[in-house]
Amino acid sequence: MLTGKQNVFDFRMHGLSSDLRGELTRSYGPDQAQRVAEPDSICTGVGARVDSKTSYEKTTFLSPDARRALASSRSSLPLLHHSSVSDRTIQCSRMSLAAESPLQSSSSSEDFAALLDAELELASSDTSPNEEEAENDDENDLQEPRTKRRKVEDFESLEDIETPMMVETNQEHIGTSGVVKNDICPPHPGFFKGLCMRCGQLEEDDGSGVAFGYIHKDLKLGTREIERLRGADHKKLLHEKKLVLILDLDHTLLNSTRLADISSEEEYLLRQVESMKDDPDRSLFKLDSMHMLTKLRPFVHNFLKEASSIFEMYVYTMAERSYAMEIVKLLDPGKVYFDSKVITQADCTQRHQKGLDVVLGAESIVVILDDTEAVWHRHKENLIQMERYHFFASSCRQFGFGAKSLSELMKDERESDGALATILNVLKQAHQMFFDPVLGPDSSSRDVRQVLKGIRHEILQGCKIVFSRVFPSKSPAQDQPIWKMAERLGATCCTEVDPSVTHVVSMDTGTQKSRWALQNEKFLVSPYWIEATNFLWQRQKEDDFPISNLRSRNA
């Protein structure tokens, strides 16, 4: 009878070749092998015993009867949970393969067994091949006493949750050295197709994980694991002196329109896209499968190339996955920038809201580039709002602009100082300030949001602004978006004129405040001055935004 010391009969068995394992089984026989199994440890395939302290239960070629016997004798033990998986898959009727196992042999090789025993430091080799004829009933009986004979600590540990046992077995028997990453499994790190990544258990539906469908469609990670991954990512990126950049697609990097929505003045584009098919530098693309026409924003390729050297980039769009993947193919044909980092509408945890919860990057180093502020409700501080790119007429119509679109005017943004070029400079500046060597080598506690705030605050430093007929005077002025925008840019805003005021922002030259401004030689500008400053990150020339322009705009 093999004693509890057979616990040593362990992973080393796995190192043995299959021949050797076959030998063992032949000497012990499959029935014997079953009996050799202790309730808390099961044989692997061929009679090799794996220790109770292994972290993972193994199913065997045990006949279903034997397995049931084992399971019942272990009824209090969590093993049942594991074997329940296999039970589900292995049904109760006897598997024909067990019956046909070529392992049934009666030839014994006692010498071989003894050799092995000696090698594996077993006290005695109690089993003898003659006992292979033991019946299943005997098996059950034998297992009970063996259970009792087992070391008390094993038994107790088994009665407890399996996990502490798993920890000690891991450290004891697994060859790898060093501290493992917190190997205890009830905080399952994540699930892949419903199986825990670390222990192989089936997922219980408690819905606490976050689905990361964009990395792999069956992946779901638990909160602790997400934190751990974020931390690891944070460290790695700081080491490489990179921050994280999240890019929106529509109206930020490109503009798309459905073929059906093309206006008559844009028809020349269809001809153009055909003729440009082989031009490697083209920015106009036709997506046949989606019946759309896409225009990439000028400077976008350079932007991506330069940004990728100082940022790890993600795409986060509210479009559907199929569209997003098509676009990413155009932007990143080499799969260098955005390999598995394209987050789409389906990955959002909240409807109509984008969140950083599905991004495996620490919030303190994330910069977001998007044209819409509303979707980033929870992360406004990380956001750099971009001016919308309206190339197609349908896009202008969508946003209610009566003016002609860039395509109809046959114009386009300038590459050298268009929106992307400007933002790239801002990003470079932010990156430089974040990794400023003056601040010391430790950048882990710095926050890019603070850096952005600092940069913004410098833009309109020293300006004092009064608003006139920009918003209704009844509503609280401090809550107005334009007020808040001006304050973010570093200006001070007030409601009444006084000698320290430098700018009056108005929609109408006839108001009292406007006339006061003209009299006192203060700057009189339209609200677009503030907006333009916000988008261009630079104090704009006040002369470029006179109020008289407004009349023609509204007309």
Partner: protein, 180 residues
């Protein structure tokens, strides 16, 4: 692990197939229906090696279909928890890597990859030891241990580990030299 087992199935045959080639048609239909499917009990049916016996057909009431109990032998593949397999790596990412052993896809998460192997991203993402001696990338062969399986109607999915003794990359160039 592969097994060669005898299975039985009731095949229904439409009367249009009756004729001198009834048996062949039956076997063809069997192959079409069964090869490539998966069951929880037997695993993945890789190929039918032969038909052992075709029983007497029973005409069903109401329709003209005839049911034949067919006994056939097939090679099946079924992964077990605890089994050690060799597999070929198909995809590597920072969560771990995917490997395929025949029709079975196995995922090894980075929790179950030895701690000294770090993920390197790039155009050929891989896991490498700190001294660069061992590398796991696409198309590497690894020996891994299965720790959990899940069987669908059409495929089997497993979670594996390489964190134990004797597991890991097989076709490391240094490794091959030893045996030359």
């Amino acid at each position: 692990m592969f097994f060669h087992i005898t299975l039985e199935r009731n095949m229904q045959l439409h009367p249009r197939h009756f004729g001198p080639h009834l048996r062949d048609k039956l076997v063809a239909k069997l192959m079409k229906d069964v090869e490539g499917t998966c069951s929880g009990r037997h695993g993945f049916v890789v190929a039918i090696t032969g038909v052992e016996d075709i029983g007497k057909g029973l005409i069903r009431e109401g329709t003209g279909f005839v049911t034949f109990p067919v006994k056939y032998q097939a090679v099946v593949f079924r992964p077990f928890k605890g089994e050690i397999l060799e597999a070929v790596v198909t995809m590597v990412n920072k969560m771990g890597f995917f490997a395929e052993a025949g029709p079975v896809q196995i995922f090894v998460s980075n929790h179950l990859i030895p701690d000294d192997m770090e993920f390197q991203s790039g155009d050929m993402p891989n896991y490498t030891t700190s001294d660069g001696s061992v590398k796991i990338q696409k198309d590497s062969e690894v020996r891994l241990k299965i720790i959990g399986t899940r069987v669908d109607a059409t495929e089997i999915f497993c979670i594996g580990t390489i964190k134990d003794d004797f597991l890991g990359v097989i076709n490391d160039p240094g490794f091959i030299e030893l045996f030359i």
